[in-house]
Point group: C2
Chain length 251, copies 2
DNA sequence: TGAATAGTGTCTATTAGACAATATGCT
DNA sequence: AGCATATTGTCTAATAGACACTATTCA
C-alpha cells in the first residue's frame, strides 16, 4: 500500500447493513422483505437495511434497523454477523459495501408500516428464493439460509425461534422448517434432552388440540451442541425429501 | 432510516482489510506480523493489511495485500473472509471499519522486506497472543485462530497448509500444530483415508530420516468433512494437554 | 373406545478412541 | 539386530437411525 505517499488519501466508501430476519410461522421458514419505494430497484423486494451512522458499530446499526423494521425489542432476538459484500457494481449508485446480519426470532408480530420502508412483510423463504430481489440480496439470502441451517447443527439457536415456554415438538418443528425435511420425533427428543443445558424443564404442561399433554421447556444456558446434530444426506432420503437425490431404483 | 431526507447524506467511512496469515513451521503454528513504522501504534506488532482501493472487492484487496506481504502467488493459498470489525474507537485517527481475512498456506518463504511494512516476520501464535498488538488486532487474531481450528474440524483446508506432495503424518502435524495437542496416528489415518476425496494418492513414497517410507498424497477434490473430525475435550485429556481440564482423581 | 400426540425402550449400524501388532526402511 | 516411523487390525464405547411400544388426553 501507499499510505505514506504525501498526496494520497484513502478512498471513502458508503457502508450499509442488511438484515436476513428469519422466523417460523405456520410450519414454514419466513424472511422479512420490504418492497422498495425508491430507485434503484423500485418496487423490487429487498432485505431490510440501511446506512450505518457515525459513531455506531455495525451491530448497533443492525439492532437499530431491526427495531425499526420489526418494532420488536431486539434483546429477544438472536443476531449475528454473516459477512461483508463488496462487489463495486453491487449498487448502481456507486460504491456501497454492505455487511449482512442474520437475525432469528420467534413468530413475530407483523411489522407495522415502517418509517420509510414502503411495505414490510413476511415471505416464505421458498418464495423469496424464487423471486428476483434487489441488489445482491438473493445471494445474501442464500448465504443466510445456509448459515442458519448450519447453525442449527452446531448450536442451540433453534430455541431462539421459539416463544417460551415451548415443547420439544415446537423445537423439532423449527428444525423441520429450517432444514426442509422431517425428523424422527423419538431420536430428536433423545438428542436434545441429553444435551446438557439445551432445555430447562418448567414442570408445566401444554395441552394440544388433541393428544397427550407435552412438557414445557425454556431455553437453557448451553450455546453449543457437541456432538452436533447433523443433517445427513440420509435424513432427507429417509424422510421423503428427494429433491437433491438421484432417483431410487427399486429391486 | 432517513435516506430520503432532502439534505441528508450517508456518512462515508474508511475501509481496510486485515489479514490473519497462518502457516505451520517447525511443528508450530505461526502468524505473519509486521512492526508498524508509523503512528499510531508505532513499533507495535500488527497484522498486515491496508486500505481498499476504488473498484476492487474486499477479497481482491486481501489478495493484493497478501501478495505484497508474502511475495507469494495467492493462488496457492486458501483465503476466506472472517468478519468485519467496526468499533468507532478502534482506530484513533477516526472511523475505520476493517474486514478481516484468514489466509492459510504451506511453509512460506520468509517475506522480503515489503514495500512499506517496516518488517514482516513469522511469529509463533503463542507468542503473538501474549504480545500487545496494534488496534484490535489481538481480538482479530483470536477470532482467526478459533475459526481456523473450527475449520479443520469441518473442512479439508488443513491440506492447504501442506506443500504437495505430503504424507499423512505431515497432515496430522498440521492438525496438532493448529489444535495444540497430539492425535492418535492410527485413528487419524483411518479418518482421513476413509473420507472420500480428502487425499489423492500419488503412488510415490517419501523416505523419512528414519523409519518406514510413507505414501505421498495430493489434495483431493472434497472440501468438506462429514462427519466432521471433532476436537473433543477427551482428545486433550488423553493426550496430555490438561490446561482446561479439572485434575484427575485417581482411585 | 379410538384418534392423536407425547414419551420410552430397544435393536442395529456407524464411528471414534485405545492400543496391540505388523511392515519397512535406516544405521 | 534394533530403532523409528508407517500402516493394519481389533476391541470397546458412544451415538444415531429405525421403529415398536406405552402413556395421556379429548371427543
Amino acid at each position: 500500500m501507499s499510505a505514506e505517499d504525501t498526496q494520497w488519501e484513502p478512498p471513502l466508501v458508503t457502508v450499509t447493513v442488511d438484515l436476513v430476519i428469519f422466523t417460523v410461522r405456520d410450519g414454514a421458514l419466513h424472511v422479512l422483505l420490504i418492497d422498495r419505494g425508491i430507485e434503484p430497484y423500485l418496487k423490487y423486494p429487498a432485505l431490510p437495511g440501511g446506512y450505518i451512522d457515525k459513531g455506531e458499530t455495525l451491530e448497533e446499526a443492525a439492532l437499530r434497523e431491526l427495531h425499526q423494521e420489526t418494532s420488536l425489542d431486539a434483546r429477544t432476538l438472536h443476531l449475528e454477523q454473516l459477512r461483508a459484500y463488496s462487489d463495486p457494481q453491487r449498487d448502481p449508485r456507486g460504491r456501497v459495501i454492505t455487511v449482512a446480519y442474520l437475525a432469528l426470532g420467534p413468530d413475530l408480530p407483523l411489522p407495522v408500516g415502517g418509517s420509510d420502508a414502503a411495505a414490510a412483510y413476511w415471505a416464505p423463504v421458498s418464495d423469496a428464493l424464487a423471486r428476483q430481489l434487489a441488489f445482491d440480496h438473493a445471494a445474501i439470502l442464500r448465504d443466510g439460509l445456509e448459515h442458519a441451517r448450519s447453525q442449527l447443527e452446531h448450536t442451540t439457536v433453534a430455541a431462539a425461534f421459539c416463544t417460551e415456554p415451548f415443547t420439544i415438538s415446537d423445537l423439532r418443528h423449527i428444525y423441520e422448517a429450517v432444514w426442509g425435511f422431517k425428523l424422527d420425533p423419538s431420536n430428536f427428543r433423545r438428542k436434545v434432552t441429553r444435551t446438557d443445558g439445551f432445555l430447562e424443564p418448567t414442570g408445566q404442561h401444554h395441552l394440544p388440540q388433541t393428544g397427550r399433554p407435552a412438557l414445557l421447556y425454556r431455553r437453557g444456558k448451553a450455546a453449543t451442541l457437541s456432538p452436533p446434530l447433523l443433517r445427513t444426506s440420509q435424513a432427507s432420503i429417509l424422510n421423503g425429501n428427494l429433491t437433491d437425490q438421484p432417483p431410487f431404483e427399486g429391486p
